[in-house]
Protein backbone atom coordinates (compact mmCIF):
# COMPACT_ATOMS: atom_id res chain seq x y z
CA UNK A 1 0.00 0.00 0.00
CA UNK A 2 1.27 3.44 -0.90
CA UNK A 3 0.14 5.68 1.96
CA UNK A 4 -1.55 9.01 1.56
CA UNK A 5 1.16 11.00 3.26
CA UNK A 6 4.77 10.11 2.68
CA UNK A 7 6.10 11.74 5.86
CA UNK A 8 3.47 10.68 8.37
CA UNK A 9 3.06 7.04 7.41
CA UNK A 10 5.37 6.44 4.51
CA UNK A 11 8.77 7.06 6.02
CA UNK A 12 10.79 8.34 8.94
CA UNK A 13 12.96 11.32 8.17
CA UNK A 14 15.75 10.29 10.54
CA UNK A 15 15.88 6.76 9.16
CA UNK A 16 18.31 5.95 6.37
CA UNK A 17 17.09 5.19 2.86
CA UNK A 18 17.81 1.53 3.58
CA UNK A 19 15.75 1.57 6.75
CA UNK A 20 12.81 3.27 5.08
CA UNK A 21 13.07 1.00 2.06
CA UNK A 22 13.04 -2.23 4.01
CA UNK A 23 9.88 -1.51 6.02
CA UNK A 24 7.41 -4.32 5.53
CA UNK A 25 10.04 -6.44 3.77
CA UNK A 26 12.50 -6.97 6.62
CA UNK A 27 10.48 -9.73 8.22
CA UNK A 28 10.63 -11.96 5.13
CA UNK A 29 12.99 -14.94 5.21
CA UNK A 30 15.08 -13.35 2.47
CA UNK A 31 16.10 -10.55 4.81
CA UNK A 32 16.04 -12.00 8.29
CA UNK A 33 16.65 -15.34 9.88
CA UNK A 34 15.39 -15.98 13.41
CA UNK A 35 15.24 -12.28 14.12
CA UNK A 36 18.74 -11.52 12.85
CA UNK A 37 18.83 -9.23 9.85
CA UNK A 38 20.87 -10.09 6.77
CA UNK A 39 22.62 -6.75 6.24
CA UNK A 40 24.15 -7.58 2.87
CA UNK A 41 20.87 -8.71 1.35
CA UNK A 42 19.09 -5.70 2.77
CA UNK A 43 21.63 -3.29 1.32
CA UNK A 44 21.39 -4.99 -2.07
CA UNK A 45 17.64 -4.65 -1.91
CA UNK A 46 17.83 -0.95 -1.03
CA UNK A 47 20.30 -0.39 -3.86
CA UNK A 48 17.93 -2.19 -6.22
CA UNK A 49 15.06 0.06 -5.14
CA UNK A 50 16.93 3.27 -5.84
CA UNK A 51 18.41 1.95 -9.08
CA UNK A 52 15.18 0.64 -10.56
CA UNK A 53 13.13 3.66 -9.56
CA UNK A 54 15.85 6.21 -10.24
CA UNK A 55 15.69 7.67 -6.75
CA UNK A 56 18.15 10.55 -6.51
CA UNK A 57 20.04 10.23 -3.26
CA UNK A 58 23.57 10.36 -1.84
CA UNK A 59 23.38 6.63 -1.29
CA UNK A 60 21.53 4.00 0.66
CA UNK A 61 22.93 5.32 3.95
CA UNK A 62 21.60 8.86 3.39
CA UNK A 63 18.81 10.02 5.66
CA UNK A 64 15.32 9.78 4.18
CA UNK A 65 14.74 13.36 5.30
CA UNK A 66 17.47 14.55 2.92
CA UNK A 67 15.54 13.33 -0.14
CA UNK A 68 13.35 15.69 -2.11
CA UNK A 69 9.60 15.06 -1.91
CA UNK A 70 9.47 13.43 -5.32
CA UNK A 71 12.37 11.14 -4.58
CA UNK A 72 10.99 10.17 -1.19
CA UNK A 73 7.71 9.32 -2.92
CA UNK A 74 9.53 7.27 -5.55
CA UNK A 75 11.33 5.39 -2.80
CA UNK A 76 8.04 4.59 -1.06
CA UNK A 77 6.34 3.63 -4.32
CA UNK A 78 9.33 1.41 -5.12
CA UNK A 79 9.12 -0.29 -1.76
CA UNK A 80 5.41 -1.00 -2.09
CA UNK A 81 5.43 -2.04 -5.73
CA UNK A 82 8.25 -4.50 -5.00
CA UNK A 83 5.93 -6.43 -2.71
CA UNK A 84 4.81 -9.51 -4.58
CA UNK A 85 1.23 -8.90 -3.58
CA UNK A 86 -1.77 -9.51 -5.84
CA UNK A 87 -3.26 -6.15 -4.82
CA UNK A 88 -1.66 -2.76 -4.45
CA UNK A 89 -3.46 0.08 -2.71
CA UNK A 90 -2.15 3.40 -3.98
CA UNK A 91 -3.40 6.44 -2.09
CA UNK A 92 -2.48 9.74 -3.69
CA UNK A 93 0.64 8.13 -5.12
CA UNK A 94 1.82 11.30 -6.86
CA UNK A 95 0.75 14.05 -4.52
CA UNK A 96 3.18 16.92 -4.61
CA UNK A 97 5.77 15.31 -6.84
CA UNK A 98 7.31 16.77 -9.96
CA UNK A 99 6.12 15.82 -13.43
CA UNK A 100 9.01 13.45 -14.13
CA UNK A 101 8.51 11.47 -10.97
CA UNK A 102 4.76 11.43 -11.54
CA UNK A 103 5.14 9.95 -15.02
CA UNK A 104 7.50 7.41 -13.64
CA UNK A 105 5.24 6.29 -10.82
CA UNK A 106 2.33 6.08 -13.29
CA UNK A 107 4.34 3.81 -15.55
CA UNK A 108 5.22 1.56 -12.66
CA UNK A 109 1.59 1.28 -11.54
CA UNK A 110 0.55 0.32 -15.06
CA UNK A 111 3.37 -2.20 -15.21
CA UNK A 112 2.15 -3.74 -11.97
CA UNK A 113 -1.30 -4.08 -13.53
CA UNK A 114 0.16 -5.51 -16.71
CA UNK A 115 1.82 -8.20 -14.60
CA UNK A 116 -1.66 -9.42 -13.66
CA UNK A 117 -1.97 -7.79 -10.24
CA UNK A 118 -4.76 -5.49 -9.13
CA UNK A 119 -4.13 -1.84 -8.38
CA UNK A 120 -6.66 0.14 -6.40
CA UNK A 121 -5.89 3.79 -7.02
CA UNK A 122 -7.37 6.39 -4.72
CA UNK A 123 -6.70 9.91 -5.88
CA UNK A 124 -8.04 13.42 -5.85
CA UNK A 125 -6.22 14.11 -9.10
CA UNK A 126 -8.86 13.63 -11.80
CA UNK A 127 -6.46 13.53 -14.72
CA UNK A 128 -4.51 10.79 -12.98
CA UNK A 129 -7.61 8.74 -12.33
CA UNK A 130 -8.86 9.09 -15.89
CA UNK A 131 -5.48 8.39 -17.43
CA UNK A 132 -4.66 5.25 -15.46
CA UNK A 133 -7.89 3.51 -14.56
CA UNK A 134 -9.65 0.65 -16.27
CA UNK A 135 -12.68 1.27 -14.14
CA UNK A 136 -13.58 4.28 -12.02
CA UNK A 137 -15.92 4.38 -9.09
CA UNK A 138 -17.05 7.76 -7.81
CA UNK A 139 -17.63 8.02 -4.09
CA UNK A 140 -19.94 10.53 -2.45
CA UNK A 141 -20.58 10.63 1.29
CA UNK A 142 -19.15 7.18 1.81
CA UNK A 143 -21.12 5.47 -0.97
CA UNK A 144 -20.30 4.46 -4.50
CA UNK A 145 -22.67 6.30 -6.74
CA UNK A 146 -21.19 6.14 -10.17
CA UNK A 147 -19.11 3.88 -12.34
CA UNK A 148 -17.20 4.46 -15.56
CA UNK A 149 -15.11 2.19 -17.68
CA UNK A 150 -12.05 3.14 -19.62
CA UNK A 151 -12.82 5.23 -22.69
CA UNK A 152 -16.35 6.03 -21.56
CA UNK A 153 -15.55 8.75 -19.07
CA UNK A 154 -17.54 11.97 -19.28
CA UNK A 155 -15.72 14.53 -17.20
CA UNK A 156 -18.72 16.76 -16.53
CA UNK A 157 -20.77 13.83 -15.36
CA UNK A 158 -17.93 12.60 -13.17
CA UNK A 159 -17.55 16.03 -11.63
CA UNK A 160 -21.27 16.27 -10.89
CA UNK A 161 -21.29 12.84 -9.29
CA UNK A 162 -18.44 13.91 -7.05
CA UNK A 163 -20.06 17.16 -6.05
CA UNK A 164 -23.65 16.29 -5.30
CA UNK A 165 -24.08 12.60 -5.67
CA UNK A 166 -26.21 12.38 -8.80
CA UNK A 167 -25.67 13.22 -12.42
Amino acid sequence: MIPEDRYIWGSASQATVTETGIMGHYIQPAFSHRGVLKSKKIQQFAQELIDRFAVKTDGIQAKTGSLSGGNAQKLIAAREIMHKSPLLLACEPTRGVDVGAMEFIHEQLVKKRAAGDGVLLISSELSEVIKLSDRIYVMYRGRVNGEFTRGHVKEEELGLLMARGKA
Partner: protein, 366 residues
Amino acid sequence: MMRSKLKRLGEPLKQPAIAIFFALLVGAAAILVTGENPLTVYAAMAKGAFGSTYYLLTTLTRATPIIICGLGAAVAWSSNYMGIGGEGQMIVGGFVSAILALNVPGPAWFKIICSVVGALAAGGLYSALSAWLLEKFKMSLAISTLMFNYAAQYITMHFTANVFLDTTGDAKMTQTLMLAEELRLPKMVETYSLHWGFVIAVLLVAAIWFVMNRTSFGYESKMSGYNVDFCDYGGISSRKVMYGMLTLSGVICALAGVLEVYGVQYRYVHNTYVSASYAWVGLNAALISDYNPVGILLTSILLAGIQTGGAAISRATSVPLEISSIIQGCITLFISAKIAFKFRGRLLRRPRPYGAQAAEGEEGEA
Protein backbone atom coordinates in the same frame (compact mmCIF):
# COMPACT_ATOMS: atom_id res chain seq x y z
CA MET B 1 35.03 8.12 -0.11
CA MET B 2 37.42 7.45 2.75
CA ARG B 3 36.95 11.00 3.93
CA SER B 4 33.18 10.82 3.98
CA LYS B 5 33.38 7.56 5.86
CA LEU B 6 35.65 9.14 8.47
CA LYS B 7 33.30 12.07 8.68
CA ARG B 8 30.34 9.80 9.25
CA LEU B 9 32.14 7.96 12.03
CA GLY B 10 33.19 11.23 13.62
CA GLU B 11 29.75 12.79 13.36
CA PRO B 12 28.27 11.17 16.50
CA LEU B 13 31.26 12.43 18.51
CA LYS B 14 30.86 16.07 17.53
CA GLN B 15 27.86 16.92 19.71
CA PRO B 16 29.14 15.33 22.93
CA ALA B 17 32.57 16.88 22.38
CA ILE B 18 31.04 20.35 22.09
CA ALA B 19 28.85 19.83 25.15
CA ILE B 20 31.75 18.57 27.23
CA PHE B 21 33.98 21.42 26.06
CA PHE B 22 31.45 24.07 27.08
CA ALA B 23 30.78 22.31 30.37
CA LEU B 24 34.49 22.36 31.15
CA LEU B 25 34.51 26.06 30.27
CA VAL B 26 31.72 26.78 32.75
CA GLY B 27 33.50 24.57 35.28
CA ALA B 28 36.63 26.66 34.73
CA ALA B 29 34.68 29.81 35.55
CA ALA B 30 33.46 28.19 38.76
CA ILE B 31 37.00 27.18 39.67
CA LEU B 32 38.19 30.76 39.07
CA VAL B 33 35.61 31.93 41.59
CA THR B 34 37.15 29.67 44.22
CA GLY B 35 40.49 31.33 43.51
CA GLU B 36 42.33 28.42 41.92
CA ASN B 37 43.85 28.06 38.47
CA PRO B 38 41.46 25.99 36.31
CA LEU B 39 44.29 24.41 34.32
CA THR B 40 46.08 23.03 37.35
CA VAL B 41 42.78 21.87 38.80
CA TYR B 42 41.83 20.10 35.58
CA ALA B 43 45.28 18.55 35.42
CA ALA B 44 44.83 17.29 38.96
CA MET B 45 41.42 16.03 38.01
CA ALA B 46 42.68 14.10 35.01
CA LYS B 47 45.42 12.64 37.16
CA GLY B 48 42.93 11.71 39.85
CA ALA B 49 40.71 9.99 37.29
CA PHE B 50 43.13 8.25 34.96
CA GLY B 51 46.61 9.14 36.26
CA SER B 52 47.65 5.90 37.93
CA THR B 53 46.66 2.27 37.86
CA TYR B 54 44.81 2.71 41.11
CA TYR B 55 42.84 5.75 39.95
CA LEU B 56 42.18 4.34 36.51
CA LEU B 57 40.84 1.08 37.87
CA THR B 58 38.72 2.90 40.45
CA THR B 59 37.24 4.98 37.64
CA LEU B 60 36.50 1.87 35.60
CA THR B 61 34.85 0.22 38.61
CA ARG B 62 32.66 3.26 39.00
CA ALA B 63 31.96 3.33 35.28
CA THR B 64 30.66 -0.27 35.24
CA PRO B 65 27.14 0.36 36.61
CA ILE B 66 27.00 3.65 34.67
CA ILE B 67 27.69 1.87 31.39
CA ILE B 68 25.08 -0.77 32.10
CA CYS B 69 22.41 1.70 33.22
CA GLY B 70 23.26 3.79 30.17
CA LEU B 71 22.60 0.82 27.91
CA GLY B 72 19.37 0.13 29.76
CA ALA B 73 18.22 3.70 29.25
CA ALA B 74 19.34 3.71 25.63
CA VAL B 75 17.25 0.72 24.55
CA ALA B 76 14.10 2.26 26.01
CA TRP B 77 14.73 5.85 24.95
CA SER B 78 15.83 5.05 21.42
CA SER B 79 12.51 3.30 20.84
CA ASN B 80 10.55 6.33 22.04
CA TYR B 81 9.75 5.03 25.53
CA MET B 82 11.38 7.54 27.81
CA GLY B 83 11.43 5.85 31.17
CA ILE B 84 13.59 7.17 33.97
CA GLY B 85 13.28 4.17 36.22
CA GLY B 86 16.85 2.93 35.93
CA GLU B 87 17.51 3.63 39.57
CA GLY B 88 14.58 1.58 40.83
CA GLN B 89 15.40 -1.24 38.44
CA MET B 90 18.97 -1.29 39.67
CA ILE B 91 17.80 -1.33 43.29
CA VAL B 92 15.40 -4.21 42.61
CA GLY B 93 18.17 -6.13 40.85
CA GLY B 94 20.69 -5.58 43.61
CA PHE B 95 18.28 -6.32 46.45
CA VAL B 96 16.78 -9.46 44.93
CA SER B 97 20.15 -10.89 43.96
CA ALA B 98 21.56 -10.32 47.46
CA ILE B 99 18.52 -11.82 49.20
CA LEU B 100 18.42 -14.87 46.94
CA ALA B 101 22.16 -15.45 47.14
CA LEU B 102 21.93 -15.36 50.94
CA ASN B 103 18.84 -17.50 51.34
CA VAL B 104 18.68 -20.08 48.55
CA PRO B 105 20.00 -23.43 49.79
CA GLY B 106 22.35 -25.60 47.76
CA PRO B 107 25.75 -25.43 46.11
CA ALA B 108 27.35 -22.12 45.12
CA TRP B 109 26.62 -22.42 41.39
CA PHE B 110 22.96 -23.06 42.10
CA LYS B 111 22.77 -20.04 44.40
CA ILE B 112 24.41 -17.83 41.80
CA ILE B 113 22.11 -18.95 39.00
CA CYS B 114 18.99 -18.57 41.12
CA SER B 115 20.00 -15.18 42.38
CA VAL B 116 21.08 -13.72 39.03
CA VAL B 117 18.12 -15.09 37.07
CA GLY B 118 15.73 -14.08 39.83
CA ALA B 119 17.15 -10.56 40.01
CA LEU B 120 17.04 -10.01 36.24
CA ALA B 121 13.50 -11.36 36.04
CA ALA B 122 12.44 -9.12 38.92
CA GLY B 123 13.97 -6.08 37.22
CA GLY B 124 12.26 -6.93 33.94
CA LEU B 125 8.85 -7.51 35.49
CA TYR B 126 9.17 -4.38 37.58
CA SER B 127 9.88 -2.35 34.46
CA ALA B 128 7.14 -4.07 32.47
CA LEU B 129 4.70 -2.88 35.13
CA SER B 130 5.27 0.70 33.96
CA ALA B 131 4.60 -0.42 30.41
CA TRP B 132 1.35 -2.00 31.55
CA LEU B 133 0.30 1.19 33.33
CA LEU B 134 1.02 3.15 30.18
CA GLU B 135 -0.99 0.77 28.03
CA LYS B 136 -4.00 0.35 30.32
CA PHE B 137 -4.26 3.73 32.00
CA LYS B 138 -2.23 5.98 29.70
CA MET B 139 -0.06 6.80 32.68
CA SER B 140 2.92 8.89 31.70
CA LEU B 141 5.99 6.70 31.60
CA ALA B 142 8.20 9.43 33.03
CA ILE B 143 5.99 9.80 36.10
CA SER B 144 5.33 6.13 36.75
CA THR B 145 8.97 5.13 36.42
CA LEU B 146 10.13 8.05 38.55
CA MET B 147 7.64 7.24 41.31
CA PHE B 148 8.53 3.56 41.17
CA ASN B 149 12.10 4.58 41.96
CA TYR B 150 10.92 5.74 45.37
CA ALA B 151 8.69 2.74 45.88
CA ALA B 152 11.59 0.40 45.13
CA GLN B 153 13.97 2.31 47.32
CA TYR B 154 11.74 2.37 50.39
CA ILE B 155 10.20 -1.08 50.06
CA THR B 156 13.66 -2.61 49.86
CA MET B 157 14.73 -0.40 52.76
CA HIS B 158 11.88 -1.78 54.83
CA PHE B 159 12.83 -5.37 54.12
CA THR B 160 16.51 -4.72 54.57
CA ALA B 161 15.99 -2.98 57.90
CA ASN B 162 13.31 -5.25 59.34
CA VAL B 163 13.84 -8.69 57.84
CA PHE B 164 17.30 -9.15 56.41
CA LEU B 165 19.30 -6.70 58.54
CA ASP B 166 22.92 -7.53 59.21
CA THR B 167 23.11 -7.54 63.01
CA THR B 168 26.55 -9.11 63.27
CA GLY B 169 28.61 -5.97 62.72
CA ASP B 170 28.82 -2.78 64.70
CA ALA B 171 28.05 -0.56 61.74
CA LYS B 172 24.65 1.07 61.97
CA MET B 173 24.09 0.65 58.27
CA THR B 174 20.89 -0.59 56.67
CA GLN B 175 22.47 -3.52 54.91
CA THR B 176 22.15 -7.27 54.46
CA LEU B 177 24.66 -9.92 55.45
CA MET B 178 27.66 -10.40 53.18
CA LEU B 179 27.79 -13.00 50.45
CA ALA B 180 29.99 -16.03 51.07
CA GLU B 181 33.50 -15.75 49.60
CA GLU B 182 32.94 -18.36 46.90
CA LEU B 183 29.97 -16.45 45.48
CA ARG B 184 31.79 -13.17 44.89
CA LEU B 185 32.93 -11.93 41.52
CA PRO B 186 36.73 -12.02 41.53
CA LYS B 187 38.82 -8.90 41.09
CA MET B 188 40.50 -8.48 37.74
CA VAL B 189 43.73 -7.36 39.37
CA GLU B 190 44.56 -8.35 42.96
CA THR B 191 44.19 -5.57 45.55
CA TYR B 192 42.50 -3.18 43.12
CA SER B 193 38.77 -2.59 43.12
CA LEU B 194 38.10 -3.47 39.48
CA HIS B 195 36.08 -6.67 39.16
CA TRP B 196 35.08 -8.83 36.20
CA GLY B 197 31.77 -7.02 36.03
CA PHE B 198 33.54 -4.44 33.88
CA VAL B 199 34.23 -7.09 31.26
CA ILE B 200 30.60 -8.14 31.44
CA ALA B 201 29.63 -4.51 30.84
CA VAL B 202 31.88 -4.29 27.77
CA LEU B 203 30.46 -7.55 26.40
CA LEU B 204 27.00 -6.15 27.01
CA VAL B 205 27.90 -3.08 24.96
CA ALA B 206 28.64 -5.38 22.02
CA ALA B 207 25.47 -7.40 22.63
CA ILE B 208 23.24 -4.33 22.76
CA TRP B 209 24.89 -2.89 19.67
CA PHE B 210 24.07 -6.14 17.88
CA VAL B 211 20.46 -6.16 19.07
CA MET B 212 19.92 -2.53 18.08
CA ASN B 213 21.58 -2.69 14.68
CA ARG B 214 21.41 -6.24 13.42
CA THR B 215 18.12 -7.73 14.52
CA SER B 216 14.60 -7.20 13.27
CA PHE B 217 13.50 -6.37 16.82
CA GLY B 218 16.16 -3.68 16.97
CA TYR B 219 15.00 -2.35 13.62
CA GLU B 220 11.40 -2.25 14.80
CA SER B 221 12.24 -0.37 17.96
CA LYS B 222 14.51 2.06 16.14
CA MET B 223 11.74 2.89 13.68
CA SER B 224 9.36 3.21 16.62
CA GLY B 225 11.72 5.80 18.02
CA TYR B 226 11.77 7.67 14.72
CA ASN B 227 8.11 7.63 13.77
CA VAL B 228 5.36 5.64 15.46
CA ASP B 229 2.86 6.16 12.64
CA PHE B 230 5.35 4.76 10.16
CA CYS B 231 5.57 1.62 12.30
CA ASP B 232 1.82 1.20 12.55
CA TYR B 233 1.61 1.56 8.78
CA GLY B 234 4.43 -0.96 8.29
CA GLY B 235 2.75 -3.57 10.47
CA ILE B 236 5.04 -3.25 13.49
CA SER B 237 3.28 -3.87 16.78
CA SER B 238 4.06 -0.92 19.03
CA ARG B 239 2.79 -2.97 21.91
CA LYS B 240 5.46 -5.58 21.32
CA VAL B 241 8.13 -2.92 21.01
CA MET B 242 7.00 -1.18 24.17
CA TYR B 243 6.84 -4.27 26.36
CA GLY B 244 9.96 -5.73 24.81
CA MET B 245 12.14 -2.70 25.15
CA LEU B 246 10.95 -1.65 28.60
CA THR B 247 11.41 -5.17 29.91
CA LEU B 248 14.85 -5.39 28.35
CA SER B 249 15.74 -2.05 29.85
CA GLY B 250 14.66 -3.28 33.29
CA VAL B 251 16.68 -6.46 32.93
CA ILE B 252 19.78 -4.52 31.93
CA CYS B 253 19.54 -2.02 34.79
CA ALA B 254 18.90 -4.88 37.22
CA LEU B 255 22.17 -6.39 36.03
CA ALA B 256 23.93 -3.20 37.12
CA GLY B 257 22.59 -3.79 40.63
CA VAL B 258 23.55 -7.47 40.54
CA LEU B 259 27.13 -6.63 39.60
CA GLU B 260 27.39 -4.05 42.37
CA VAL B 261 26.29 -6.71 44.86
CA TYR B 262 28.56 -9.44 43.48
CA GLY B 263 31.56 -7.29 42.63
CA VAL B 264 31.73 -4.30 44.95
CA GLN B 265 29.79 -4.41 48.22
CA TYR B 266 29.09 -8.17 48.40
CA ARG B 267 25.78 -7.25 50.05
CA TYR B 268 22.81 -4.99 49.47
CA VAL B 269 23.40 -1.65 51.18
CA HIS B 270 20.48 0.73 51.32
CA ASN B 271 20.95 4.06 49.52
CA THR B 272 24.31 3.36 47.85
CA TYR B 273 22.95 3.33 44.29
CA VAL B 274 20.86 6.41 44.96
CA SER B 275 23.63 8.50 46.49
CA ALA B 276 26.04 7.59 43.70
CA SER B 277 23.23 8.27 41.18
CA TYR B 278 24.60 5.62 38.81
CA ALA B 279 21.36 5.35 36.89
CA TRP B 280 21.10 9.08 36.30
CA VAL B 281 24.68 9.42 35.17
CA GLY B 282 24.05 6.41 32.93
CA LEU B 283 21.01 8.10 31.42
CA ASN B 284 23.17 11.15 30.90
CA ALA B 285 25.76 9.07 29.10
CA ALA B 286 23.05 7.57 26.90
CA LEU B 287 21.71 11.00 25.98
CA ILE B 288 25.16 12.46 25.34
CA SER B 289 26.10 9.64 23.00
CA ASP B 290 22.75 9.58 21.21
CA TYR B 291 22.02 5.99 22.39
CA ASN B 292 25.08 4.64 20.61
CA PRO B 293 26.36 1.72 22.75
CA VAL B 294 30.04 2.34 21.99
CA GLY B 295 29.54 6.02 22.72
CA ILE B 296 27.92 5.07 26.03
CA LEU B 297 30.97 3.02 26.96
CA LEU B 298 33.30 5.97 26.35
CA THR B 299 31.16 8.73 27.88
CA SER B 300 30.40 6.60 30.94
CA ILE B 301 34.12 6.20 31.58
CA LEU B 302 34.58 9.95 31.10
CA LEU B 303 31.71 10.82 33.45
CA ALA B 304 32.96 8.34 36.04
CA GLY B 305 36.35 9.99 35.63
CA ILE B 306 34.88 13.40 36.34
CA GLN B 307 33.43 11.97 39.55
CA THR B 308 36.55 10.23 40.79
CA GLY B 309 38.70 13.12 39.57
CA GLY B 310 36.42 15.52 41.41
CA ALA B 311 37.00 13.59 44.59
CA ALA B 312 40.74 13.77 43.99
CA ILE B 313 40.84 17.55 43.55
CA SER B 314 38.80 18.10 46.67
CA ARG B 315 41.55 16.27 48.53
CA ALA B 316 44.44 18.00 46.75
CA THR B 317 43.16 21.56 46.36
CA SER B 318 40.73 23.94 48.01
CA VAL B 319 38.24 23.34 45.19
CA PRO B 320 35.22 21.57 46.61
CA LEU B 321 33.92 18.21 45.43
CA GLU B 322 30.83 19.86 44.01
CA ILE B 323 32.81 21.21 41.07
CA SER B 324 32.40 17.83 39.37
CA SER B 325 28.64 18.09 39.88
CA ILE B 326 28.73 21.50 38.22
CA ILE B 327 30.57 20.14 35.21
CA GLN B 328 28.23 17.17 34.96
CA GLY B 329 25.19 19.39 35.33
CA CYS B 330 26.44 21.62 32.53
CA ILE B 331 27.03 18.65 30.24
CA THR B 332 23.45 17.57 30.84
CA LEU B 333 22.24 21.08 30.21
CA PHE B 334 24.04 21.45 26.89
CA ILE B 335 22.94 18.03 25.77
CA SER B 336 19.31 18.68 26.63
CA ALA B 337 19.55 21.94 24.73
CA LYS B 338 20.50 19.85 21.73
CA ILE B 339 17.54 17.56 22.27
CA ALA B 340 15.18 20.52 22.63
CA PHE B 341 16.41 21.96 19.35
CA LYS B 342 16.01 18.66 17.60
CA PHE B 343 12.50 18.26 18.94
CA ARG B 344 11.55 21.79 17.97
CA GLY B 345 12.95 21.25 14.50
CA ARG B 346 10.94 18.09 14.13
CA LEU B 347 7.71 19.81 15.12
CA LEU B 348 8.33 22.70 12.76
CA ARG B 349 9.26 20.52 9.83
CA ARG B 350 6.35 18.16 10.23
CA PRO B 351 3.90 18.66 7.41
CA ARG B 352 0.25 18.96 8.40
CA PRO B 353 -2.10 17.77 5.72
CA TYR B 354 -5.81 17.66 6.37
CA GLY B 355 -6.96 14.96 8.73
CA ALA B 356 -3.51 14.52 10.18
CA GLN B 357 -4.09 16.54 13.33
CA ALA B 358 -5.68 13.60 15.09
CA ALA B 359 -2.60 11.49 14.47
CA GLU B 360 -0.36 14.29 15.73
CA GLY B 361 -1.68 14.15 19.28
CA GLU B 362 -0.96 10.47 19.63
CA GLU B 363 2.71 10.62 18.96
CA GLY B 364 4.79 9.03 21.66
CA GLU B 365 1.99 6.93 23.01
CA ALA B 366 1.36 3.26 22.59
